[in-house]
Symmetry: D2
Subunit: 333 residues, 4 copies
């Protein structure tokens, strides 16, 4: 039974706590948070203890930590936890600064500790099924990937202001998906963005609607569409065109009911947001982490993957500003 410390008792920390508890081979033993009351409450509901982060990292009986704190603390905590001998599952992104994330990667390497980044979408059963079919060669050679990823509603402008921007905060998921599905890093990145959903987002220096094209060295192309608002729910779809066909993964709908009337045929909307759509993915993600810690399999998402997605986000940010294609090499420096 793996003993787990959870750093961060917010919304996503709660989701992870349930997954940890539900897994037969892991046990949540400690929770920390800047808000001790939140830590206490979450700990209590899982038979765990509220402790400080320092206590958790210093407790040799704890095997692994899950980092679900605010983004600006991720790199520091990854370094501290691996230095303390813990395996780490850290929420995305590694950092908003590519340089800091690269430094973190360098610092972690000598510890030999397992670090996995929480790109939860890879564990969605639909996307995983698509990936498996593609890897099995069922559509021949992949050529053109298209990812549609719309949130149901924009976040508060206050959040936007500290988020690192749409490319680092939201589309980073899709960058990871694209690299994962294509099995490679893109060579060049071209981005177009607008603030059209909410002018306040534009005033905060960010975009809320964007299209990014990734060009791979072998000629393959990926295109990603993001919008901060789709009033019908969380729109999360993937299409992959190959020499032998097209693979599509559609949305998960709230139910299978449809109603035909004189006004048309109405069916259910997509699941509302990530907590609904990706609940199963969070379980599968945790299970994959446990397997990796136990040495049963390699970690499916590495710290390197986290740095790569951030580098693509950095390139996209620059491209959207300049109107020029940006090479990944120029960003990686």
């Amino acid at each position: 039974m793996l003993k787990i410390g959870l750093l961060g008792a917010g919304r996503i920390g709660n989701v992870h706590a349930s997954a940890i508890t539900a897994h037969p081979a892991s046990q949540l033993v400690a929770v920390s948070d800047v808000n001790m009351e939140a830590a206490r409450k979450l700990a209590a509901s899982h038979g765990a203890q509220a402790r400080t982060t320092a206590e958790i990292l210093g407790d040799a009986s704890i095997d692994a930590v899950l980092i679900a704190t605010s983004t600006d603390t991720h790199s520091d905590l990854i370094e501290a936890a691996t230095k303390a001998g813990k395996a780490v599952l850290c929420e995305k992104p590694v950092d908003l600064s590519l340089a800091r994330a690269q430094a973190c990667l360098k610092a972690v390497a000598p510890t030999g500790r397992l670090v996995m980044i929480g790109f939860n979408r890879r564990f969605d059963p639909n996307f995983a099924a698509l990936k498996a079919k593609a890897d099995a060669g069922q559509i021949g050679k992949a050529e053109l990937l298209s990812i549609t990823s719309f949130d149901p509603a924009p976040p508060p402008v206050a959040y936007v202001a500290v988020s690192g921007g749409l490319f680092r905060d939201m589309m980073i998921h899709d960058f990871d998906m694209a690299c994962w599905l294509m099995g490679a890093a893109p060579a060049k990145v071209t981005a177009v963005g607008s603030s059209i959903v909410d002018p306040e987002i534009g005033k905060a220096g960010d975009v809320d609607t964007a299209v990014v094209t990734l060009h791979f060295a072998d000629g393959r192309i990926a295109v990603i569409q993001n919008s901060r608002r789709a009033v019908y729910g969380y729109d999360q779809r993937i299409e992959l065109l190959g020499s032998g066909g097209l693979l599509s993964a559609g949305n998960v709908l709230e139910n299978t009911v449809s109603m035909a009337t004189a006004q048309g045929v109405v069916s259910a909307k997509p699941e509302y947001f990530f907590l609904e759509r990706y609940m199963r993915a969070y379980s599968a993600e945790w299970s994959a982490f446990v397997d990796a810690v136990q040495g049963k399999s390699k970690p499916p998402v590495t710290l390197e993957d986290g740095v790569l997605a951030l580098a693509v986000a950095e390139a996209a940010t620059r491209s959207a500003k300049t109107g020029q294609t940006v090479t990944l090499a120029s960003v990686l420096g």
Copy 2:
């Protein structure tokens, strides 16, 4: 926290045990089974004790029992448990004998105990959403109900021989659904059945493919199709035509991936069988039972409902044999 005893540690007992444990207001404290080893194993994995049925019924600290034993014990156990003051959730059917089920109903009444029958499909979120829309009048007045219900593969012939026959064993679910959705008992039942999937089922005196038409006193009609074999998985669909439109609840697919190639467009199959399709329904069913025991709501499926479904099954069995329409009144005697 409700203390629960589970009678029966087979496949469906295991499903219920998980639902009991996962619910925040109920705790599995004891498990019995004719196979004590099975009871011990299941109890252990839930922090409960393996005990005899008599011990469980005699333990005043146990609030409710879930009966998941073989069908021939249901009526006796319902009577014994209610006499012992327990609330009861019993798997369907109440009994294979309509007379015995009616006697059970009479015996339970004076105890005033809550008895709920496990017609799990009512708790499927898709069917529940269809029912809610119908009840809200979204398709006007219901007129014609169609239920398609195919199992992926026939059970062993040995099971068929003691099952009470397709109408009492399998279609009883659909009879309950029809009565529930139409909000009434049918006046007349017309059944046609064949043994065409497996001749051995015919030799055992049963059918494996059947169509039953229910005629309600106000003219409404329901038609139910059953087959013991649909090689593509568990096919569970409902359509309800009303004066203002059609409501349909489709299958739940294994995933949302489709693949278009030169050979056609392939999408996923329905979930394979009831454990996959109705896992969420079992949770919701348990939750409804807990609410009813706690007095928060009325039990959504009563013992009367269980007897009614059995009566319709009895009428269908007779109709299939005689080729004549059978009135429900003639069956209820």
Copy 3:
């Protein structure tokens, strides 16, 4: 170039006239109708002449006639036209009286003339594709057929009164489809019907909602659902369950547009009625008739088929009245 006389210039006569004109190997040369003005108008728009039926049948240069007159004239016209040496395509049904239809069959036989009955649905490209896959054994052995067939709105009660009733007027199409798809006549027929859409239909002695079960000698079953009203349009679907899978033919929608909003996802309705849904079928039907007249293929729908469908309708009518299963043999006398 086949020279064609059209008997009947009503709505369906107009549809056929267009199909005749559009076919490269047939030419509409004459049109008759009890309303000569209607005949003149239709003839004029196709470069044909308005003539009496007697003139058309007496004109040796005319190769074939299409009978699109009122039902009560069908048998007489089939007999007269075949006696006059014409090939015949006659709208369904052959007659409302089974005895009259059987007499017609007997009368036509000695003439050796080709008579095809207009069961247009066999020529719908979707149903034809389903039939082709079934015949190719793609779902193994067929076991259970389900036909859903709802009209968008009930006909005037005045029409209902002379229609022969739902089974002979409307469901006769589905009886033909069932016999065609199953490749056999049913042994037994069980029918349940209600007047629930419009009480006036009930007062006129007919039903508007019905379910009929056909039992074939080898155990296979077909079930047909009819309603005179589906406010969302013409609902025409077929499902065929076999030992190796399920074939389904769905509705043709008005367009492929869907709209997702906060209220749900709305897509288009089915094509409104038979003129929209089966326009392509009427062309294919005519083409098949021309091929048969030219000796390129056998007529795909025979007069025998027309009599068979009528016999099943007769059995269904009796069963709905008596509540008893009716054998086809008892009807055929």
Copy 4:
């Protein structure tokens, strides 16, 4: 009755000839082609005469011409025909040279003649329904448009070499659709292209897979995906995200049959190519042209629209070569 001359008797000329003949208010009277035998054959099958282009333009009884010749002749023929007083429907593109197309526009203006460009997709009933809903404000304010447009198989390399390249030859349809749907010309164009389907296309200096992003002055974005190969058929889809929802127009499938087996659920492929998918669109296009010639409505696609689409194609071609965003203003000069 409008008298029509058809210039060009190739594959698309044949499609147009049928639409002209089928329309009640137009008559095909003359056909010309560089291959006189082709002209003769097509004319004969429509009761028209084979004549030279000069004869057709010189015949004062001919009201309008349809130009379906090779692209390099379009501008010259538009100028000659309008000078001769004919109304013109000309296949896309106006020309491969933007300058030449602009000169043509200038030359035509003084004649006051009606010139319509054959962007057939606007007349597809699905896309037209989407446009109507968008214009009716059903999804609020449009923000992000996505067009997927894949051909089933690449054209011969010899064709590619003279085609003007994917952006002018194939994606020009999508540029027109984007400008039409958004009701505006884009301000900036960003293109990425690859030769990955067929290396020979790359050797011929063209791409076969491309993604283009159009940025409108008000911040709205459109993204277009093209591939020369989708082995499952002609993939023609549109999605339009607005402040109030998402409109989608899907493919038209070959039929509505699906087959569920142990291997999955197989449904039909999209219609194979433009002759299948857009047959109804060609009829509607011709009908719209006739209406415009008769003064019943404005021409729905103007010569200006044709020049605009070509300008966007020019910008995309430059952007794909340079990796830089190109303004439409810089292209229009």
